[in-house]
């Protein structure tokens, strides 16, 4: 509780300074930075006409679908890479070369292959979040104390059982950390993708509002993204803590 209050101090100060500089003194003209009041009014009208909720749902569903696809591919593959040196040798070069390519660079190809809309957004999110999950999972598997694996073998587990019942849970804290990082990147990718190849979602909201000089609505869109990110961060951090044996 005390932590929550402390964390709100600086945002409160920022809002006060912001209000003073815009509404009360007019030092900063409203076309550069809209006043807190303008932002609140924009928030109210975007909420009332349903646009904010619709765009949030659009963005969220893209993020979640793309993220789940990435996790379904990255977690098993990461376990395999961490488990088997042979698999790692086969894949390390190709992963090493694909990983540094910014997901945004794939947008033209995504549009060519999947057209405008959900398909290409999912692809971009996938490209962005698959690597952090993969690397974190493989790393987690490699760090497992050998004594757990040897215990499983001496207790009669075969390889598959050992991977399912020992390797996976032992690497789970690292996997969750990978998912947390991957989710953050997924959100950034979605918004970037929406700004280029989409006609809905929070990225699209920000872009259209900016182009109509409605900077108050743009800030509403930006804050909505921040709130989504914060919520996911909170969920994953809670999961991490629960797994801290």
């Amino acid at each position: 509780m005390r932590k929550t209050i402390i964390s709100l101090v600086i945002p409160a100060i920022i809002i006060v300074i912001w209000a003073v500089l815009t509404t009360y003194t007019g030092i900063i003209p409203s076309y550069l930075i809209p006043s807190p009041h303008d932002v609140f009014e924009a928030f109210k009208s975007l909420l009332m006409n349903g646009i904010l909720i619709k765009d949030t749902v659009d963005t969220l569903s893209r993020v979640i679908i793309g993220f789940i696809v990435a996790a379904i591919v990255a977690v098993p593959l990461g376990i395999l890479i961490g488990w088997s040196e042979t698999v790692e040798n086969y894949l390390s070069f190709i992963i090493g070369i694909l990983r540094p390519i910014p997901p945004i660079a794939w947008i033209p190809f995504a549009i060519l292959w999947f057209g405008l809309g959900l398909g290409s957004a999912i692809f971009i999110i996938f490209v962005g979040s698959v690597f952090p999950i993969l690397i974190s999972t493989a790393d987690g598997v490699k760090r497992i104390d050998k004594v757990y694996i040897e215990s499983a073998y001496t207790l009669g587990a075969d390889k598959l059982q050992t991977i399912k019942k020992v390797v996976f849970p032992a690497a789970l804290p690292n996997i969750i950390t990978g998912l947390k990082v991957g989710m953050g990147i997924a959100l950034m990718c979605t918004v970037a993708a929406e700004m280029i190849g989409s006609n809905n979602g929070l990225g699209y909201l920000i872009l259209t509002a900016t182009s109509m000089l409605d900077s108050a609505s743009a800030i509403v869109g930006m804050l909505a993204i921040g709130v989504i990110g914060l919520t996911f961060e909170y969920i994953f951090t809670r999961m991490e803590r629960k797994l801290n044996w």
């Binding site: 499983a152 001496t154 059982q161 789970l172 044996w245």
Partner: protein, 250 residues
Amino acid sequence: MVFKIKKVNKNFQNKTMEMEILKNIDLTIEDGEFLVLLGPSGCGKTTLLRMIAGLDFPSSGTITDNDVPVLNPSPERGFVFQQYSLFPWRTVLDNVAFGLEVKGIDAEERYEKAKNYIEMVGLSAFIESYPNQLSGGMKQRVAIARALVNEPDSLLMDEPFAALDVLSRHKLQKEIIQIWQQETKTIIFVTHNVDEAVFLADRILVFSERPGRIIQTLKIEQERMRDRTSEEYLDIKRKITGLLETNQKF
């Protein structure tokens, strides 16, 4: 007999050199015997135990368990590690039930059986605890229960009490003797502690420093529980300590 170890040599290879770990080990371990492998650290006694378990393999020679070559780990040969090896994400109950779970035994039966073994090591009050809530001695008790639940013919123990304080160590030594008498298992126990060896063993194999060879075999006939202060007990300890010291190179 249970284990036959014939002409076993073990070398470790690293980038620059080959190191001899064990040299020419010949050994038969009888059914129901409490055998202690005693020696200075680095003498290869743990490596020998791991090879008997199937966690490691000889460079030459053969190891058989009831005439079957040991090629991989098996629940028939329970293993208790020196390090704490309980799965930290599982409760005591689920740790002990692990061996039955991978065998496909249904939950009700495996929990009932696991509880019996947890009771045997005196931890019934802790079945829902996680390993990080237990002391070192309790963790090793759970590890013993976890190995026993598979009803192995033999129990291989790699310095299981090395990290414990003297009082807990003595307590666990008594408990392992009780379990051994009650369950009639073959136990192979690795230690560098002379007192522990003399307290536990039917037979002690004393190893030299690397490369490890068996320099002496001692049978101990004294009745259990052994009195650590008896003249006979102290004599054996003195003899072994002298033997280890005269074979010390550095």
